[in-house]
Symmetry: C2
Subunit: 257 residues, 2 copies
């Protein structure tokens, strides 16, 4: 007989970052998916790869827009996405997409050959996979934080000061940063139709989120025709549409971090 | 005779993210290094690899702590690090470290074999390379933003309100996020001495920055003995020390983003 406390122990001691041995069904990939979040990209990637998968849905708190506690039971950081593949429990969008490409995209339909390391498509692919969350998202998250501060409930005498602080941050620092990044992405899409080059890759899946977030958070999209056309092109992909059918549509203006 | 305007044109039109064809010396790697910044990691990686390189130093504005305009001439985002290797001009720490590992670490001294994709060391390596900037750094940058707001010059009647806003953000949201990540990193270092497993890899170089930033920005390091010992271990590495000799010591408390 297996002692429940012991099983728990084994699970905890075997936990290794993304390498947690979970007592799950061994055969089907599972995505822990939070609505209106980064995890739609993982569903989309799996649809592009044509892999079967199971979605575990989590809803944000409608008031605070925060992820529910239940996600912490899956991964200590309580964030989404989390991918479960046999014994592996893996977080971090960029790492998940790379993992899926390296493990399952053996025909290299969505990713360049790993070598040579300096091949332009590989260089670009690697760059945008990191850039999306490492550089593009932080100022977009800050846009949200200061926009919320602007509208946060507080005593009447504090409101104008809070607004002035928020406006100063948004206009003086955060806004110019967002613009810098949007200009950069727009310019890069002037070189080739997709971020890694001539064809659609997992780097485009990774890059979709900051562009969708910028569009939803008041980025002046009229000034960015290539980013607009890019969004149209990705949202027209059948695999994207199937992902939205399973995971729900994205609303990134309200509060998704 | 080559027309200067034409050369400029070629450079601009050939600019491709990190793939800019620059009229530089073709043989030696060049690092555009901003003091007290993420780019120390790139010098360190090059020292670990034993590759010759040239450092181009940039100083922050002593008042605003911002990067100088000159960095925009190297890369449109004006950020550091930027790596120049023959015709390639590449930004984004994680992408640079991966590039250097894939191209020059042929003996796999600092990086796991790329395949199989699901090998634990590869999974962890990939994860921490993304996690450092994608998840750990954003709340640490926000700590800095709100700490500065707390001490920003403003009219006397606004000060208590600004402080109250900053404290609420720091205690209510940003602080708990930083703690969540520090707990996670501490716990992971309880599984193995280095982030990817039993040996030091480029993922440790990438992870050094958020841990150093947390230590400098008032993370209660006494509660994190493994993170403390980790910092001691990396700072004792001869390659790290040589990088500091060339790039200058790190001061991350004052304002480095």
């Amino acid at each position: 007989m297996v002692d429940a406390a012991h099983v728990e122990d084994v699970i905890v001691s075997a936990t290794r970052l993304g390498c947690r041995f979970a007592p799950a069904e061994p055969s089907m990939i599972k995505v822990h998916h939070l609505d209106h979040s980064r995890s739609l990209r993982v569903l989309w990637m799996l649809e592009e790869l044509g892999l079967p998968y199971q979605v575990v849905n989590y809803q944000r708190d409608p008031k605070t827009w925060l992820a529910p506690q239940a996600l912490r039971d899956v991964h200590p950081l309580g964030k989404s996405p989390v991918l479960q593949d046999d014994a592996l429990v893996l977080a971090e969008s960029g790492a998940i997409l790379e993992y899926l490409a390296d493990r399952y995209d053996s025909g290299r339909q969505l990713s360049p050959e790993p070598m040579p390391a300096q091949a332009p498509e590989r260089v670009r692919y690697r760059y945008w996979l990191h850039y999306a969350e490492g550089s593009a998202m932080p100022p977009l998250v800050m846009t949200l934080v200061f926009s919320r501060l602007r509208n946060a409930p507080m005593p009447f005498f504090a409101k104008p000061i809070a607004r002035s602080i928020a406006d100063k941050a948004l206009k003086g620092f955060v806004g110019p940063q967002v613009k810098l990044h949007m200009d950069w992405m727009e310019r890069e899409l002037g070189q080739s139709p997709w971020f890694a080059g001539e064809r659609f890759t997992a780097a485009d899946i990774q890059m979709s989120f900051p562009i969708q977030a910028a569009a939803a958070r008041g980025g002046d999209m009229a000034a960015y025709p290539r980013l607009q056309s890019y969004l149209t092109r990705i949202e027209q992909r059948p695999a994207y549409q199937r992902a939205v059918e399973r995971g729900g549509p994205l609303n990134l203006g309200g509060g998704s971090r």
